[in-house]
Symmetry: D2
Subunit: 341 residues, 4 copies
């Protein structure tokens, strides 16, 4: 059997660990050969391949990024895309695919599966918002980076008697904000799932200042006020005439400063949350995903995605995973409330 | 309601996070008062208390250790111990206890529960070997520390063309070795649950040297050879005439050097695995355990231990947790085998 | 002898290490007593004191921030300020002061020294821009944090084929950008001392993209284009009508995207560079500064600032330190040029 | 010009940073070509080469180890060794050498220089015990690793009411122990330069236990008692009949337990101090060393070693560096004394 592997979508710590595990077990236990498709779906679409075997995967476990490259190319939206993929798989002698990626990548995999292409999926989202799996790799790393940043910010908030607003990733789901805020000892957490009232956040800030400490508010990039105060994101033109969107972190810091009279500053963690070496949790999870994916290939159990349920790696139909986003349930948000203020 | 809190057994990152969460929610949502019992069961046994409220728990979330102190005192084994505990609880006006600890501490809690003392347990073991919970806090921190050490050791093994044997914690269960070895890219993992053959380890080492890399073998302190080669641990007298036991790491390095002709060294991680600030995973888990424990107190749901199952915090009877150790199942060990050698 | 201690200006890792060392040696070797003045010069100005002795300094070595609090209060600018300080020192029975701070704090110390107040200075600036000392504590910590962030950003730049612009601290001096950029393997470094040409930066970016890697440009917050392209910082009004200034990082990312046609993003590290636990280098330096400061007090060697020269701690007159900023010499900037592009 | 590069001796974080900087500047500014000699002096001795250019040095800055490999081969001690080196340099068309290593490697370089081989040295010792340079790269990394370990051990010492003895590297010089001990807040530091009295260490331990804290003693592997208590290191036979030497850490822990009645444990940090990614300080220092080394080659300034003096990189004759070890001066040890006990 000859197996093609590709990685799609954004950077996420653990991608290389998945690739390594699948290749390692595929070669040593099943005697498979591998082909690397470069840059996500662009690889099979355009026939971009690279050698992939045990020599290529040595030493990559601790490294961020992906040795296969990535892209957001969607072959479904390209006329004749699926046929070109089939043709290129044939040409490369590839019998089955392992597709590692998020909603978009797995959406393509679902479509290909329906069209008879043998494919197994590995879920990847730093935001942890995919259904059917307890966690995705990359999430634990992102939460640790954000949590360490918050640790550092506490002493600065205190010594400057300031409000610090920490904006973390999470456009549609507040998992990173919830976990990093809980781990970092935030005095307020705002997530996309629960529209917030500025009045309430002002209350948390003022209550915190009544102790000898200073407040830190953690906010998902996708959080929004409940009451339409911010109908659209604030826009301005940058030095080159492009429209620039100001994020919720800046908006909130500005609002808190205006309302409380205390200096407030936003820290936008941005890309540092998604690169670099994975935590041990993510390395183990990604490795187990890779092992299970190659087992699925060997068992010809196609059209499935590997997933973590409790401490077990299981395989679920694509449809269970990609139907809708896994957002933060209200009770999980309410659980954190004793720490607000 | 007035709640007593105590921590028993060895150091474990996350203890302070549990205490903080229980006190924080207890005070702000239930209006409870708290009493800290010092040094594990010694506290209620001898009436050693300290003030415990929101001021005492501010800022302790990221700190290792326990503000309450700890001990291995077992009041069950002390004549009249249980009666003294009841008397001291009465005297301190304490209506219920939260006991945070491992098998021993929870064993005492089980006994007290049978004797009518209202008590809720929070599981704590760095070795992750308690049943009924997917993970215990402290484990993820220990695995990360060991994994980072292994990352560093790879370059040293390579540049010296040496075998490095890394001995990690785990007297009866190999969870730390399994996860740290998988995360660190070890070329062999040895755990107490699966007696090993030196011949096989020699094979892994020799196979690894045939690449351009050098082997790292991760071994639980409680791992043992299958074939009685090491009937007893090696003993010698130290400079002061005490018996000194040489660990499995040294034994294995010595054996591998003798058998392969390659220099081999053991690195014993020891205590650095169990101290210091917890990872984000452990802080969130410990915090959620603390919140759930105080909910149990409020619900008068005594005789239970909080536990993690999948992503949910649940409450289980003591008996489910302390019946037998949760060791590494054979299939989890076999899962890692493609990386050996 | 009774010694007052105060910390002024912004947060900086190592402040607590200085305080601890001075108190520890003052008490154990010289038999001094100590008084903590709270919140920088506001403390002696308003008579705000706190107890300061060995119990207060236990355990603070690894902690960021300052147990004494800080402020930017300048008593020189306040009518009768110096007299009030003298009076409050008398009232607290304080014979001499240790003032830990940056240019402003040491400027006040210089003035007080001229007016006969016995004072010893300890230099503190995260930007490393104080003369007469090779390094100031806090700088090494800031550089490490920025360097670790750049490490993580490399894999993200690669996987997204993007330009990443990393804006670090340094309003007037480019030390953090120079060291973090050199340490992080940046493909371009821009500092306030050397006005830059966008054309040249575009050249670096394009040259880097010709390899299989993606460019990272590190820029001091105070860097500016040479040719007046950015006459004023870009301004817009925020959601609450306040003027908002967009930083050089955003400006540069926008310009590079417009000029190269490649996606470019700015990451502004901001406050995370100045809080939290100090590195070992900074702990040792801060500790040695504290020890030397109390020696100066004991020797009645007032009007001096402690400083690092090579591996020695020396004492220099205030005037040598505060005359002008220590900016990056052109040859140090040119030294990094082989890595640009 | 064609330049050969080699790395000799033990692993040390920063070796790759030196290689990268020399190659990068050599190629881009001087138009040099490079040849990598493998495995230290074994490379030129046996004609083992590898390609070395900009592609080979991309991405290696943050990586521990050395891409060139290393060995302890000493060609001076091999009959005809020097002639073989000259012949192999000729054959590879190499005009000059950059030798990166410690006392042994630089000793060979000194000899070759006397015999007319054009060679420039770069000092490397994790122990920081080379004269003529303020610091060597690798040392700061080792100190940080040890300091972080000590941070973690504090909470464990406290929660177990134990003495912890931390054995760090340093056979002949106590720099790592001095800096890590000062940075980690140790309650006693023992170094090879100052023979210790067990009585005095017992005093520190007992004094520390009178506070609410537990003692941590940091000891160099080469430290020895003053009074001949430990005439020879303790010896025993291991499981395979080899002689095993017990280190000073175990000896000391055993002695402290016997004398104070408190549990004492040794933690031997060992190899984890010398591998893995370098700190920012070490990356900058190593990079600047590499740049200066290639400048020396270009200037035909042979027979010199690059060195750090204050913040400047200078070049000094080999003889200044290798004459005698740079040990810890007594006043630097005494400086730390206020923290003992």
């Amino acid at each position: 059997m000859r197996v093609g592997v590709l990685t799609g979508g954004g950077d996420c710590p653990g991608l290389n660990a998945v690739i390594r595990a699948a290749v390692r077990k595929g070669v040593t236990e099943y005697g498979f050969e591998f082909v690397g498709f470069r840059d996500g779906w662009k690889g099979p679409l355009e026939g971009l391949t690279m050698p992939l075997g045990i020599p290529q995967v040595r030493g990559i476990l601790p490294r961020g990024g992906t040795i296969l490259g990535s892209s957001r190319t969607n072959p479904i939206k390209i006329e004749g895309g699926v046929d070109r993929i089939k043709a290129n798989m044939d040409q490369a002698g590839v019998d089955a695919l392992i597709a590692i990626g998020g909603e978009d990548t797995l959406g393509v995999a679902t479509k290909l599966d329906e069209l008879g292409v043998p494919v197994v999926g590995v879920p990847k989202t730093i935001d942890n918002d995919l259904n059917a799996t307890d966690y995705t790799f990359g999430f634990d790393t992102a939460v640790n980076i954000a949590s360490e940043a918050i640790d550092r910010l506490h002493t600065t908030a205190e010594s400057h008697h300031r409000v610090l607003v920490v904006e973390v990733m999470g456009r549609h789901a507040g998992w990173i904000a919830l976990h990093a805020g809980m781990s970092g000892g935030a005095n307020g957490i705002l997530i996309p799932e629960v529209p917030f009232h500025l009045d309430e956040v002002v209350g948390w800030v003022e209550s915190r200042f009544q102790t000898n400490y200073s407040p830190i508010i953690v906010v998902s990039e996708g959080a929004l006020p409940a009451d339409g105060e911010m109908v659209t994101k604030d826009q301005s033109l940058d030095a080159f005439g492009h429209v620039r969107l100001s994020g919720i972190g800046d908006w909130l810091a500005s609002g808190l400063e205006a309302r409380t009279g205390k200096e407030a500053r936003a820290v936008v963690l941005g890309h540092i949350q998604r690169g670099g070496t994975p935590t041990a949790f993510d390395r183990v999870l990604a490795t187990r995903f890779g092992l299970s994916a190659i087992d699925a290939i060997a068992a010809k159990d196609f059209g499935k995605m590997v997933a973590l349920q409790s401490t077990n790696i299981v395989r679920v139909p694509f449809i269970e995973a990609t139907g809708e986003l896994k957002t933060v349930p209200l009770e999980r948000y309410e659980e954190a409330r004793p720490f607000f203020g």
